[in-house]
Symmetry: C2
Subunit: 203 residues, 2 copies
């Protein structure tokens, strides 16, 4: 079983890295465009494989809830939840008329949108005894992860760790959070793309 899982892990990560190299576009301002398979069009095959790999990594963590933030984090969260068999909660960026009652809220600056959002989650869906896995599609400066962690802490719940599809390792958000003791699993980590060439961290 372990050997089988190990082979699966290597295949998923290699496949994701190949996809990033083949379809990813490096844009000015350190923006990586992976809209063809991750955050505008979604390749369901690689998405579900990523979900299986996140589930393998956190299988023994006691996770009972996945937390993400709308919008593109939702797909990765659903894929992971399909294998971990946990509910997903997604924080919203605005209060709509179907979010009622008390909420936890945190401020998050968006790297791609260049805006500051208040993310909110209803207090009904994060409880003190929850063991929460934070999931997102991208990790860059770590602002979304910090905001989501704030929501979990406000609820008095436990963070078992975070899982993201692609980390921009050169932006240090992930490494800063790891240095503070947070478990962060990134399926692909890009350590350099400054010359338009993508260099992955060996994991």
């Amino acid at each position: 079983m372990t050997a089988c899982f190990f082979v699966f892990e290597v295949i998923v990560i290699k496949e994701l890295e190949d996809k990033i190299l083949k379809e990813g576009q490096v844009l000015p301002g350190n923006v990586l465009k992976v809209g063809s398979f991750l955050n505008q069009q979604i390749d369901i095959d690689i998405l579900m494989k990523m979900g299986a790999e996140i589930a393998r990594l956190y299988a023994d963590s006691g996770v009972n809830k996945i937390l993400t933030v709308e919008a593109s984090g939702i797909a990765v969260a659903v894929a992971a939840a399909n294998f971990l068999k946990t509910p997903i909660v997604f924080a919203k960026k605005s209060r709509s008329s179907n979010v009622t009652g008390e909420v936890y809220s945190a401020k998050v600056e968006s790297f791609t949108h260049g805006t500051v959002n208040n993310i909110i989650v209803s207090k009904d869906f994060l409880k003190r005894d929850d063991r929460v896995l934070i999931v997102d599609d991208f990790l860059a400066n770590g602002n979304a992860l910090v905001g989501l962690s704030d929501l979990v802490r406000d609820a008095g719940a436990t963070i078992v760790g975070a899982a993201v599809a692609i980390e921009k390792g050169f932006q240090k958000g992930g490494d800063d959070l790891r240095a503070k003791g947070m478990r962060i699993e990134s399926l692909a980590i890009i350590d350099n793309m400054s010359d338009g060439e993508i260099v992955f961290r060996q994991q």
Copy 2:
């Protein structure tokens, strides 16, 4: 096989209706709050069953792409795509720095947010030969479906139909679109909730 599918269909729809009755809250202004299992917290078990049912309904449609709009439509779209084995494309409500190049756009009024959004999708991800299934979590006045249909038509692609988790039948968006010849499959249709009591349409 057919008999087996039929039993599955009945179970999924019954389970969804039971969940709506048990956990749904009718709020003033004809808002149905199903945040506990569909659009803030997501029950992964019923979500994937809904995906399987949508896939069963559209198995013979030749669908090769699922189109939804962020945010809560994404979860239902991923679940359906998992069984239909098609890519998902989600329209965005704002142009972020990772959406570049030419886009199709349409105006959509949001019932729950009380706002008008321009939804956009990159021209790279909707092509003339696509056979598109439109998926969303809710169908009320039909604005989102009309906007998404506009995007597909602008691309010269074919709409095979739409699938939604919950339709508010009394708001007529679904029936108006059916009258115009669009195939719409709603897993649960609420025909009345004006007294706070939810009445489902027999399908």
